[in-house]
């Protein structure tokens, strides 16, 4: 079953890390990505630019409205995602716990709605 791992962490905190610390975090993600690739469960994943680069779109009464920023201001922000094809929720949760942001943010694990065919 496919799950999307939504990676949440505190952008402001991440930005204030030193260059070396940021490199270290990237390296950790590299290790995780390699692991899930080797397990054969990796189907996708990307880091996202910070919410300062985000635009939110709504269409109300036929009118398109765009606002600067994420859909809501939150203490932690969506920083990236993985799509993993796992045997069960347990496997998904075990993998989610290994994603670096789980240590200082959180990972939301959501089953993907499979549209048959």
């Amino acid at each position: 079953m496919r799950y999307m791992m939504l990676i949440y962490d505190n952008e402001a905190l991440a930005e204030s890390q030193s260059e070396a610390e940021q490199q270290a975090v990237f390296a950790e993600y590299g290790v995780f990505t390699q692991e899930v690739r080797e397990k054969g469960v990796l189907e996708g994943g990307d880091p996202l630019l910070p919410t300062t680069a985000a635009t939110t779109v709504r269409v109300k009464n036929g009118k398109r409205m765009t606002t600067d920023g994420p859909f809501a201001e939150t203490k932690e922000q969506l920083a990236g995602y993985y799509i993993l094809n796992c045997k069960s929720l347990d496997e998904a949760l075990n993998l989610a716990a290994k994603i670096p942001a789980a240590k200082y943010g959180c990972i939301e694990v959501r089953p993907i709605m499979e549209m048959g065919g």
Partner: protein, 430 residues
């Protein structure tokens, strides 16, 4: 007050002194903003914050970093302020009600879970206050560096080649002016915020530029200033959404900053854009800068100076080298910028672009229109002229212009650059 359990997100911090220093450095501006907002007194805020920081240094290595470091520092600092007031109240026997009122509010705030969010409001207010147009520009810059970026007076003085005593005076006068002129502690309303925000952005960009291309001193780049400017602009963007110029400023800073490693050679000398090894440019910074610029443009607000400058920077970032850069588009952007700012500095940049888009002689013509008292003291004007003359094959005249440029430059690094150019030209024309 006092640390309970150690939040795991701070674990990487408590493990080193350097880490602890960084937490405190990051939290201090917000806490300072909260204290200034509360007491409306820069110096009192500074004093009590210093004492609270000292306490943190003593306690946190043993107790662990508290759950909410900013709240801890703020609460401790307020208690110290309160003790000071009480002490004075007892001695002077005045305003006991004030002391009581402060004590009650103090107790309430310890419970306030929105305390840290309020700091963001205070920080935003502080930004607008420090950059109020009633203050002289150099006072705005000094105040911003001191209160928002937590630079010491010595560091600020050194960056601007001023005596620390003089810088101290500049800061004192600015703070006094805020008090006496009744400069408000507010984020401007929707009607006023446009030009006021432009003022804040201008100060932030000044700080960035002072880090990127120091006007004086021995280094090419003061990365700390660039980083602080970028960090503060990021905070601003998170607190104030929907302003294309602010988004564009961050884009501009990132796009410029992406060149930092290529700007210096092995001996620490200056390398001009045309000679830079573009493979050394920071691709991540360019990626983010371009994404931000694109977003700024989709906000569909009237293009301001930062959007235009960011667009120029993006054109450079996209080009493989000087020759394949879209110079006609850059000329058009500078035309727009001249119309907006009426700035001679921008006219010099435009002349250089015309020189590359059309011909060196046309560039020189554009430059000739600028001749004037102030331009004669402006080194980049002479440097631009020298470059165009050189390209037009007029080497003796180029030599003269480089000599003029050298005479008006304070930065040791830039001096050495011009000296090298002059030496090369002297050899080839003799």
């Amino acid at each position: 007050m006092g640390a309970s359990r150690c939040d795991p997100s701070w674990r990487w911090v408590a493990e080193s002194t350097a880490g602890l220093e960084r937490v405190l450095a990051r939290e201090a501006p917000r806490v300072r903003a909260g204290l200034i907002g509360r007491f409306r007194d820069f110096d009192l805020a500074d004093d009590v914050l210093q004492e609270a920081l000292l306490k943190a240094w003593q306690r946190w290595p043993q107790d662990g970093v508290p759950d909410r470091p900013a709240a801890w520092l703020y609460t401790v600092a307020c208690r110290i302020a309160l003790d000071t007031f009480k002490h004075h109240a007892v001695r002077r026997r005045v305003e006991p009600e004030l002391v009581t009122a402060l004590a009650e509010r103090d107790a309430a705030e310890v419970e306030d879970t929105h305390l840290v969010a309020r700091f963001d409001d205070e920080l935003l207010r502080l930004m607008f206050t420090c950059c109020h147009p009633a203050l002289a520009l150099d006072a705005q810059v000094a105040l911003t560096l001191r209160t928002l970026m937590d630079l010491s007076v010595e560091e600020i003085a050194r960056a601007f080649l001023v005596e620390p005593g003089a810088m101290e005076q500049r800061l004192t006068r600015a703070k006094r002016k805020i008090r006496h002129a009744g400069i408000p502690w507010e984020v401007p309303n929707d009607h006023e915020i446009g030009p006021r925000l432009q003022g804040v952005l201008t100060v932030l960009y000044l700080v960035f530029n002072e880090g990127y291309a120091p006007t004086a001193g021995a280094t090419i780049v003061n990365r700390a200033l660039c980083r602080e400017a970028i960090r503060t602009t990021r905070s601003l963007l998170r607190m104030l959404r929907g302003h294309a110029e602010a988004v564009a400023l961050l884009a501009l800073m990132l796009l410029q900053d992406s060149h930092a490693d290529a700007r210096r050679d092995a001996e620490g000398g200056l390398v001009l854009l045309e000679d830079q090894d573009r493979s050394l440019w920071d691709k991540r910074a360019i990626l983010e800068g371009r994404a931000l610029l694109e977003k700024a443009l989709t906000l569909r607000q009237a293009p301001g100076p930062f959007q235009i400058q960011a667009a120029v920077a993006a054109l450079h970032a996209e080009a493989a080298d000087l020759v394949s850069t879209d110079w006609p588009q850059i000329v058009a952007l500078y035309e727009h910028l001249v119309r907006l700012t009426d700035s001679d500095v921008v006219r010099v940049n435009r002349a250089v672009a015309i020189g590359l888009a059309q011909s060196p002689n046309e560039g020189l013509q554009a430059l000739a229109n600028l001749d004037g008292e102030e331009m004669r003291r402006y080194a980049p004007y002479h440097a631009a002229e020298a470059g165009l003359l050189y390209r037009a094959g007029r080497r003796q005249e180029a030599l003269q212009s480089y000599r003029h440029a050298l005479a008006h430059v304070q930065s040791g690094v830039v001096q050495r650059f011009f000296e090298r150019r002059i030496a090369e030209l002297e050899r080839s024309t003799s």
